[in-house]
């Protein structure tokens, strides 16, 4: 029996299986291939790298620090390595394979030109601490992207260094905190709507604030009156997602901002859903003081199975002086300039400091800039319009079979929200999601936002064709009918994926986080 066989199919599973399993002696089934861990594949002495330089003797002064034995890690030759990761890759769903309608995640096509440009040696093979005279193009690329972000949002400045959306949130809140401190006013509370993404309250707490929740109205918006009633001298600011996680534009945004400003607070806008309004609405016109932009959402830098992201934060004039280092700006002559600690005292004295080593996610900046230059102002606007059009098409094509709690109040923005109301007893959103897997689609976001029972949040994005959407809608209609009718076979889904439902309780109760197969 080979290692794959141990890891995957076992003889006893052929009895009492799902009925759709074809038994093979290898454990593989046609193009569905099992793959062992590298630790089960590796063999002594194998290495996928040849070395041509001599090693020599370590410095005598180093002798007491030397490792007694090499790390216990297996090596694989190049053919084994390529095959291992290629086989693993085939167990993943991806945008390149089909619709990936995860609400709030904006999984759109990742243009390959972006990858090609990011790999130009002039961007990819440049050290962050090279003398400035050798990196003028890198600084200019950052400034160009920053200029696009500032112009598209109607804001004053941008902090480019945050590493992801949540890091951007932190940047914005630290700017707010620094601004209050500069005014000599300590404020302790940040207001967050209950529909907010989990990073919002987590970030506010990480920045040292107490988090208080603001309720939603029955039609899925922030309750303006409740928010106004809570404002006071202890409230540092609010965190509003706009468009919100129900897929709706917060129409009272300007009124919210005016009220918050009148009470001496600042407005943080979570820009995770900027894709719906880029080129259509400038958040700066609505009184926003800080907003992060997920380059890995709106501007299509690839999500890579969980990052890297990039979360530049656009800032109002009030918050710009506090932006973190390094800070890219232009001097009086219009020349691009990178301000680091060396010159911060003269040129950016109120900065709250550094959030991370180096300049931020340069590799993501070059991809996003390529995407933006490709689309231009008109293409970005068209992308937002098509994203909203696609979402409304999904909403109206499904609302007769899936409960759409806010569909009565008008169109949605870039994502369509449904609930599990109407499903047969014992059938849940999870069953529909797992059914989609068998149908060849990635499920939508499930059980988020929390304000809707059994939420299903569908964000098709603008890069889905109408034909692709029609196929998705047809499958989801069938699944909705099955859930409403109480079709028991749906509970067994997925049956056709590389794995069936996984036991998450066991994983958490007795965590196995590293391979220990060789520790007898």
């Amino acid at each position: 029996m080979n290692a794959a066989n141990r890891a995957g199919w076992r003889p006893e599973m052929s009895a009492g299986g799902t009925g759709c399993e074809s038994v093979t002696s290898s454990g593989d089934r046609g193009l569905m291939l099992e793959e062992p861990l590298i630790f089960e594949l590796g063999h002594k002495g194998a290495c996928g790298v040849d070395f041509d330089a001599p090693e020599g003797e370590p410095l005598p002064a180093l002798s007491r620090f030397l490792r007694k034995e090499a790390p216990a890690l297996p090596g694989l030759t190049e053919p084994e390595t390529v095959r291992h990761y290629t086989r693993l890759s085939r167990q993943n769903y991806a945008i390149d394979l089909g619709p990936f309608p995860l609400g709030s995640c904006t999984m759109k096509h990742n243009p390959r030109l972006n990858e090609k440009m990011a790999r130009l040696p002039g961007f990819a093979d440049v050290h962050p601490l090279q003398p400035q005279q050798t990196v003028a193009g890198a600084v200019e690329a950052i400034e160009q992207l920053g200029n696009w972000l500032v112009t598209l949002t109607g804001m004053h400045s941008v902090a480019m260094s945050p590493k992801a959306g949540a890091h951007g949130e932190l940047c914005g809140l630290l700017c707010i905190r620094a601004a209050h401190e500069a005014r000599g006013a300590a404020r302790s509370v940040v207001l967050v709507p209950e529909s907010a993404h989990g990073t919002n309250p987590a970030t506010a707490a990480f920045a040292g604030y107490r988090v208080e929740s603001i309720p939603a109205t029955a039609d899925g918006h922030v309750d303006l009156e409740a928010l106004k009633a809570r404002l006071g001298p202890d409230v540092a600011g609010v965190m509003i997602t706009n468009p919100n996680t129900c897929g709706l534009f917060e129409r009272d945004m300007k009124a919210i901002a005016d009220a918050v400003h009148a009470a001496g607070g600042y407005v943080y806008c979570d820009g995770a859903n900027f894709n719906a309004i880029v080129g259509k609405v400038r958040p700066g016109d609505l009184g926003v003081d800080a907003m992060h932009i997920n380059l890995h959402k709106t501007f299509s830098t690839p999500h890579g199975g969980g990052g890297p992201g990039s979360g530049p934060v656009v800032l109002s004039e009030a918050l710009a002086p506090f932006a973190p280092l390094p800070f890219v700006t232009r001097d009086a002559d219009g020349a691009v300039k990178l301000i680091e600690e060396e010159h911060a005292g003269d040129e950016h004295p109120q900065t709250f400091g550094r959030m991370a080593a180096f300049h931020g996610q340069m590799g993501m900046f070059t991809r996003a800039l390529t995407y933006i230059l490709s689309h231009g102002a008109d293409g970005l606007r068209q992308a937002a319009e098509d994203a909203v059009l696609n979402a409304n098409y999904v909403l109206r094509s499904l609302e007769d079979v899936l409960d759409a709690p806010f569909a009565g109040s008008g169109p949605c923005m870039h994502e369509a929200l449904f609930s599990d109301a109407g499903f047969a007893e014992g059938f849940s959103t999870l069953d529909v999601a797992k059914g989609l897997i068998d149908e060849g689609f990635h499920p939508m976001t499930v059980y988020f936002p929390l304000v809707v029972h059994g939420a299903m949040l569908i964000e098709p994005t603008e890069t889905e064709s109408k034909a692709g959407l029609d196929r998705f809608i047809a499958s989801l209609r069938v699944l909705a009918e099955r859930a409403r009718a109480g079709d028991e076979s749906l509970k067994a889904a997925p049956r056709l994926a590389p794995r069936r439902r996984l036991d998450e309780t066991q994983a958490a109760r007795k965590p196995v986080l590293v391979w220990k197969g060789d520790s007898a």
Binding site: N110, V211, F352
Partner: protein
């Protein structure tokens, strides 16, 4: 409009509007107050462009930079230029890795999840820790997360940083501590041949949550982790070791084996290029008993409904999407694709290959140090180093670095760039060599430096 990334045709749009029952796309934006809606494309920005046009523009920008591969190159200080095997970049561009999301649907994300599990095991074994997470943003943010975690574990809030900790890491930590109220003790670095472990140990007291030690340190020196661990533990504090150059652990003992309780690092050296500072990946390992205080994503082994082995994200009750304001960190998206690149490179090397790579790095650095020591006016500071060491120049090294760049030589990182306020350090130059450093590069640096120090114009 028609554009190469937008599949909807005008006919599609019209048909879909019909299904929706809207007269125009603008009607779909009815929820946006009219005064906030722009009537056309944002003013002052160019319109869409072809691949050819964009490629020209980006290539022109890239050409304004001096790339590391086109000059003798000796920079390090937290970002290292190593050879990346061709298969690494090929594999991370598989669309199934590149264009997938965080694996929230494990049945169709076993590829990503198994890589995470393998990555966690590789990092734990490299660091000598029981467990490791699935990555953080970078080394500097991982360093702060370790301090925050040590605070949760010890219920103390005073962190003592070694004088050899990367100054950007110190700044990052101080930024965060300013807002959380933690006390950060950071000693000023000195130009001494060996790290001052005794001074660090004497700064530990009964209120100390953790001691944070970079290994090797910012000047390339090797602190005695075992002695520091003993002192930290005697005071009830944790030892946090910070590794900015993981290749060093092919030669040097793993921090976890020397008593470190939490080991964090920058993983960029393996599989990830310089990229002008990012994206990189933070490495994070610790003792198993602290597992539930760890930040970030964790992948665990389990079984599916048929009893087959599979992997899932686990212990998410620590994380923001479940715990919201009570989470151990606000991190969400981390550095998945960089972790994949790291893991593939590590798989190609294996433990023995990493040891050989480390040996070559060390040998190249020794050759560089020997040659630079012959340049008049130059002195090598370190007794011991791995692949990075400090040389003392007769004047401000920042000027020397600029003058070297005028000669198309990227000669190192000046300590003045890193410590603008510490005048006593300004004569220091950090020099790094890796397996990519040739004898010709070393000779070019030595000759150019000699000229620069003699004041010969470029």
């Amino acid at each position: 409009m028609a554009m190469r990334y937008l599949p909807l045709t005008e006919a599609d749009r019209a048909e879909m509007l019909g299904v929706i029952g809207a007269a125009s796309v603008d009607d779909l934006f009815a929820g946006v107050p009219a005064e906030a809606r722009l009537s056309g494309p944002v003013a002052g920005l160019p319109m869409h462009a072809s691949e050819i046009a964009v490629e020209r523009q980006m290539t022109a920008l890239a050409a304004k930079n001096l790339s590391a591969g086109s000059a003798p190159f000796f920079l390090g200080a937290g970002a290292y230029r190593h050879h990346i095997p061709a298969s690494v970049d090929h594999l991370i561009q598989r669309g199934e890795f590149l264009t997938s999301y965080t694996p929230y649907q494990p049945e169709i994300a076993q590829g990503t999840l198994q890589v995470m599990f393998e990555f966690q095991t590789q990092v734990a074994r490299l660091f000598g820790t029981d467990v490791a997470n699935a990555s953080m943003y970078d080394g500097s943010t991982a360093c702060w997360e370790a301090i925050a975690m040590a605070g949760r574990v010890t219920k103390r809030s005073r962190a003592v940083l070694s004088a050899g900790l990367h100054p950007h890491y110190v700044s990052t930590v101080k930024t965060m501590a300013r807002f959380t109220g933690d006390t950060i003790e950071a000693a000023a670095p000195k130009l001494e041949a060996a790290a001052d472990d005794a001074a660090l140990i004497s700064a530990i007291d009964g209120a100390t949550s953790c001691v944070v030690v970079q290994y090797p340190d910012i000047m390339g020196r090797i602190p005695d982790l075992a002695a520091i661990a003993e002192a930290a533990h005697a005071a009830g504090a944790l030892l946090v070791a910070v590794v900015t150059e993981p290749v060093a652990l092919g030669l040097l003992e793993a921090p976890g084996n020397l008593g470190a309780d939490i080991v964090v690092g920058e993983g960029q050296s393996l599989g990830v290029g310089l990229n002008f500072g990012g994206p990189y990946l933070g490495l994070f390992g610790c003792r198993e008993k602290f597992l539930r205080q760890m930040p970030g994503r964790l992948c665990g082994e389990t079984v599916d409904a048929d009893g087959k082995r599979g992997f899932v994200l686990t212990l998410s009750t620590r994380e923001q999407h479940i715990r919201r304001e009570k989470a151990t960190s606000n991190i969400c998206t981390n550095a998945g694709l960089c972790a994949l690149a790291f893991s593939i490179h590590m798989t190609l090397l294996g433990g023995d290959g990493l040891a050989r790579l480390a040996g070559i790095n060390h040998a190249r650095a020794q050759a560089s140090a020997s040659r630079l020591a012959q340049v008049p006016g130059v002195r090598v500071l370190n007794d011991a180093f791995f692949n990075e060491f400090t040389v003392i120049l007769p004047g401000d090294a920042r000027e020397a670095v600029r003058a070297l760049a005028d000669r198309q030589v990227l000669g190192g990182v000046s300590l003045g760039r890193l410590y603008p306020d510490a005048e006593g350090l300004h004569c220091g130059l950090l020099v790094t060599a890796t397996e990519l450093t040739t004898d010709e590069d070393i000779e070019a640096l030595a000759l150019a430096l000699a000229e620069v120090l003699e004041g010969v114009p470029a």
